[in-house]
C-alpha cells in the first residue's frame, strides 16, 4: 500500500463540499466529493444514521439520503432540524444556511489520494 492509500482520520471537509437550503422546518444539504472516486466512501461512511446523530442536538427527527451517482453527489433532507424554521426559530441562522459546515465537520476515515489537497 502506497502512502497515499493509507486510511487517515480526517473530516468530510477534506474530501467533499456542501450547500444547505431550507423549506419550512427541513434542511436540504448537498454533499459533493472533490474527487468522483470518493463517492463510494461517502456512501459507506455518511449514512442517514450518522447524519441524524450529528444533528440530533438541533432536534433532527429523520434523515433521508438521496443518491446521485452520475454527478456524483448525495443530497440529505433533514426533518425538524431548523427548530421551527423561519416561522419559529430563535437561532441566529433561521434558515440553517450554516448547516452545510456542520455536516462537513463530520469525522471520516479517508486516504490522502481522495482529499482535496493531497
Amino acid at each position: 500500500m502506497s502512502e497515499d492509500d493509507e486510511p487517515l482520520p480526517t473530516r468530510l471537509h477534506e474530501i467533499a463540499h456542501a450547500r444547505a437550503g431550507d423549506k419550512g422546518n427541513r434542511s436540504s444539504i448537498s454533499l459533493i466529493p472533490y474527487r468522483p472516486e470518493a463517492y463510494r466512501l461517502l456512501l459507506e461512511q455518511v449514512t442517514e444514521q450518522r447524519v441524524l446523530e450529528a444533528f440530533a442536538h438541533k432536534g433532527a427527527s429523520r434523515v433521508t439520503r438521496y443518491e446521485l451517482p452520475g454527478l456524483p453527489a448525495l443530497n440529505f433532507v433533514i426533518d425538524d432540524v431548523l427548530q421551527g424554521g423561519v416561522n419559529a426559530a430563535l437561532n441566529l441562522d433561521q434558515h440553517g444556511k450554516t448547516l452545510s459546515s456542520l455536516l462537513l465537520a463530520m469525522p471520516v476515515t479517508a486516504p490522502r489520494r481522495l482529499m482535496r489537497r493531497s
Partner: protein, 458 residues
C-alpha cells in the same frame, strides 16, 4: 425551424441582491445574437407578504422596493439591444409595477416599450379567507385565527410565454415559480408543448440554475484553500445558453470575477431540491438524477440529461399570517475571565425570566463559543472547548404574541449594564414583527392567470 439557442442572464437572485450586477450581464448579452433575456428574481415568501401590506396601505404600491434600483440602470440598454426583461418584481401589485416601469421608460426615452402584466396568483380573488384557512398546510402549521396577510399561488411559465407572444418587452409577474422566469421565454421561443416534459424539465433546470444569481458563478461557494474563487468582490452574474434540444450551457458575464465550474454548478443544481427525482413545479416534475455536468471551456459548463414527468394537478400556494414579535438583544464581555462573566450574565437573565414569569420561548447564546450550530438548549456550547479569556457576546432571543413581553426580555439584558457581571458593553437590541408562512395545495383549475399589456407613452 426558428431559433436554436436562447441566451438568458440573471441580474438578481433575491430581494436585496446587488443593484449593479445586471450591467455586465446586459453588456454580455448585447454582444450575442439571437433571442436574449434578462431576469430578476426578487420575491421571497415574506417579501410578498410585506408587499401585500404595502398595497393595502396604498393601492399604488406593493411591488418590489428594488424595482427602480434594478430597472433604471439597464432599461434603455436592454431596449436598444432588444433584450427582453422578465421579473417577479410585480410582487403584490404587478399593475402598479408596470405603471412605474412605463414612467421610467418615458423618462429614458424608451418610446413604445410594451409591458406585459401577469396577474391571477392572488388566491383571495377567487376564494374567501375562510376557504384559505380550511386547507391543510403541507408543513402542518396551524394557521388558526391569526390575521391573514397574503395567499398566493405559484403560477407557471405559460402566462409569461403568452405575454411575450403578445409582444412584451418587459414581463412583470407577481408570485410565480422562480424557474418560470426562464422557462417562460424558452416556451415562447421554442414553442415547447405543454406535455413536452423532458424539454420543460430542461428549461426548469436552467431556471433553477439561474434563479439565485451568483450562487452558480462562484458566490456562496468560496472556501479559501479549498474552493478558491477569483475576484469574488466583482463576481459576475450568470448567463446561460439553452438549446432547442434542452441542452444547457452555464457561463457568466464577460470581464467579471467569479467562477463557473462543475463544482459551482453542482452545488446550485442540488440547492433546495430535496428529492432530486421529483422537484415539483407548476409546469413539470423535474428529475435531475440522470443529469451530467461537464466543463467544456473556461467558465463554461454544459448540463444534459434532465428528465421530466407530468406536472402535478395542484398548484402550491403560500399563505402568510401575522406571527407576533421577535426580540433579540446582545451584550459583550471581553478579556480576562470573559467566558465566566458571559455565562453568569446568561444565568442572571434566565433567572429573571423565571422570576417575572415569562412563558414565551427564550434562547440564550454566547457568540464566540458555539451558537448557530447549537440547539436551543445550548448542549454544544456547554461542552465546547473555548478559552476562559476571549471576546464573547451574549445573545438573548425570544418570540411571543405580546410585544410588551418580548420588549421586557430584551430589557432584562440591557439592565445588566448596571445590574450584571463586571464590564459588559455594547448593548444592541431589536424587536421585529413576524410573518408566518405555510404552503397549501390548490386545484389548478381554481387559479386563472390573466395577461394584459400596457405601453409606455411615446
Amino acid at each position: 425551424m426558428g431559433v436554436d439557442t436562447v441566451h438568458i442572464g440573471c441580474g438578481a437572485g433575491f430581494s436585496g441582491d446587488r443593484v449593479d450586477a445586471a450591467g455586465p450581464v446586459v453588456e454580455t448579452l448585447a454582444r450575442r445574437d439571437g433571442p436574449r433575456y434578462l431576469i430578476f428574481e426578487s420575491l421571497a415568501e415574506r417579501t410578498l407578504a410585506l408587499a401585500q401590506k404595502h398595497r393595502r396601505a396604498d393601492p399604488g404600491h406593493g411591488y418590489s422596493p428594488f424595482l427602480d434600483a434594478y430597472v433604471r440602470p439597464v432599461l434603455a440598454d436592454c431596449h436598444s439591444a432588444g433584450i427582453r426583461i422578465v421579473s417577479n418584481f410585480g410582487a403584490a401589485n404587478p399593475a402598479a409595477a408596470a405603471a412605474r416601469i412605463a414612467e421610467i421608460a418615458a423618462e429614458q426615452g424608451c418610446d413604445g416599450l410594451r409591458i406585459g402584466i401577469v396577474e391571477g396568483d392572488d388566491l383571495l380573488e377567487v376564494m374567501s379567507e375562510g376557504e384559505v384557512r380550511r386547507y391543510p398546510t403541507i408543513e402542518g402549521l396551524e394557521i388558526g385565527e391569526a390575521p391573514l396577510v397574503a395567499a398566493n399561488a405559484y403560477l407557471g411559465a405559460r402566462p409569461i410565454a403568452e405575454a411575450l407572444a403578445l409582444g412584451a418587452d418587459v414581463v412583470v409577474t407577481g408570485r410565480c415559480t422562480d424557474p418560470a422566469l426562464v422557462l417562460g421565454p424558452l416556451v415562447h421561443e421554442f414553442d415547447w408543448a405543454e406535455d413536452d416534459w423532458s424539454r420543460l424539465a430542461a428549461g426548469t433546470m436552467a431556471g433553477h440554475l439561474l434563479e439565485c444569481g451568483a450562487q452558480v458563478t462562484g458566490a456562496y461557494y468560496a472556501d479559501p484553500g479549498y474552493k478558491d474563487v477569483p475576484d469574488l468582490a466583482r463576481v459576475g452574474f450568470p448567463v446561460a445558453e439553452i438549446g432547442r434540444d434542452g441542452t444547457v450551457v452555464v457561463s457568466k458575464a464577460d470581464n467579471t470575477g467569479g467562477l463557473v465550474s462543475a463544482g459551482t454548478v453542482k452545488e446550485q443544481l442540488l440547492y433546495e431540491i430535496h428529492d432530486p427525482a421529483r422537484y415539483l413545479t407548476a409546469d413539470v416534475i423535474l428529475d435531475i438524477t440522470g443529469v451530467t455536468v461537464e466543463e467544456i471551456g473556461p467558465d463554461r459548463v454544459r448540463l444534459s440529461g434532465a428528465r421530466g414527468w407530468p406536472r402535478p394537478d395542484t398548484l402550491k400556494a403560500t399563505v402568510s399570517v401575522e406571527g407576533g414579535w421577535m426580540g433579540e438583544a446582545e451584550l459583550s464581555y471581553a478579556g480576562p475571565n470573559a467566558l465566566a462573566r458571559a455565562r453568569l450574565a446568561v444565568d442572571v437573565v434566565r433567572q429573571r425570566c423565571r422570576d417575572i414569569g415569562t412563558n414565551c420561548p427564550v434562547r440564550f447564546d454566547i457568540l464566540g463559543t458555539v451558537s448557530v450550530h447549537d440547539g436551543d438548549a445550548g448542549d454544544a456550547a456547554a461542552v465546547a472547548a473555548v478559552p476562559a479569556d476571549g471576546d464573547y457576546r451574549v445573545r438573548v432571543a425570544s418570540r411571543g404574541s405580546d410585544r410588551a413581553v418580548v420588549e421586557r426580555i430584551n430589557q432584562e439584558l440591557m439592565s445588566l449594564y448596571c445590574s450584571g457581571p463586571a464590564a459588559g458593553g455594547g448593548f444592541r437590541q431589536s424587536v421585529t414583527d413576524q410573518i408566518h408562512t405555510a404552503s397549501i395545495l390548490v386545484d389548478r383549475d381554481l387559479v386563472r392567470p390573466k395577461v394584459r399589456m400596457v405601453e409606455a407613452a411615446a
